[in-house]
């Protein structure tokens, strides 16, 4: 029972993470950081057609759920990925796996009945 509650808690904890991911611009920023990171806001804004202010806002959204963090590099502030947190996107698979657990349990009850 406590395990189920843990799973529910884990699911609700994942909602802000996935909400933060559900945006094309933010996914684009994550991809850039994954490939070229760490990068400054100036670099991240280049060629995106998005203003620095907007990029900052998106980075803060990603930062609030722990997907990215900023650090100082010399006099510059750079942003980098929190890879560990990003791996939690596996929550999607865990969730589908839990659905299969539930379906298999129902099948078991169905065929073992009497």
């Amino acid at each position: 029972m406590s395990r189920s509650r843990g799973a529910a808690r884990q699911a609700s904890d994942a909602v802000p993470l996935f909400t933060a991911l559900a945006d094309a611009t933010r996914l684009g920023l994550l991809r850039r950081l994954a490939v070229d990171g760490p990068l400054s806001i100036t670099r991240l804004s280049e060629g995106t057609g998005v203003t620095r202010q907007a990029v900052t806002k998106h980075l803060n959204t990603l930062g609030n759920v722990g997907l990215v963090r900023h650090a100082r590099r010399g006099r510059e502030r750079v942003w980098e990925l929190e890879r560990k947190r990003l791996e939690k996107a596996r929550v999607y698979l865990d969730q589908i796996a839990a659905q299969w657990d539930a379906a298999a349990a129902r099948l078991k009850a169905f065929v073992e009945d009497r």
Partner: protein, 143 residues
């Protein structure tokens, strides 16, 4: 841990023929899966299923009596979206004799790596409440 596939193994205390019927007979499948299907499972055919506003299509791949059943689908489709042309996942049920009697059922769903991240996000968002509901059902059932 693979990000492409989910595998579940469960021993059912029932003969293989019984388990096979529960999986391959669309009506029986619908009972435990909790979905209403509009036709029988036939290899190469598409069967439509619904449960309230949740709608899904099963594209039946292969049927080997009492041994193997597979279909493709779009995991957690949003009814408002068109998925034609998007990759589907493959769901496979494999039945074997379990040691000490009964049936060993293996369920594998694979092909998630080809599903775009944005779609995963969408599927997740759509399904969160349903999942929490399932856990609550289960808690009620076991307590």
């Amino acid at each position: 841990m693979s990000t492409d596939r989910i595998e579940k193994r469960v021993v059912l205390r029932a003969p293989r023929s019984r388990v096979w019927r529960a999986i391959s007979d669309a009506k029986e499948f619908g009972t435990w899966f909790r979905i209403t299907l509009d036709g029988a499972f036939v290899a190469g055919k598409t069967v439509r299923g619904s449960h309230g506003s949740f709608k899904v299509e099963f594209r039946v791949e292969r049927i080997e009596p009492e041994r193997y059943f597979s279909y493709r689908w779009h995991p957690y489709p949003d009814p408002a979206k068109d998925y034609s042309g998007e990759p589907m996942t493959l769901v496979e049920f494999t039945l074997e004799e379990a040691e000490g009697g009964g049936t060993l059922l293996t369920i594998v769903e694979s092909g998630f790596d080809r599903i775009p991240l944005a779609r995963r996000v969408e599927a997740f968002r759509m399904n969160t409440e349903g999942w929490i509901g399932q856990i609550k059902n289960l808690e009620r059932y076991v307590s």
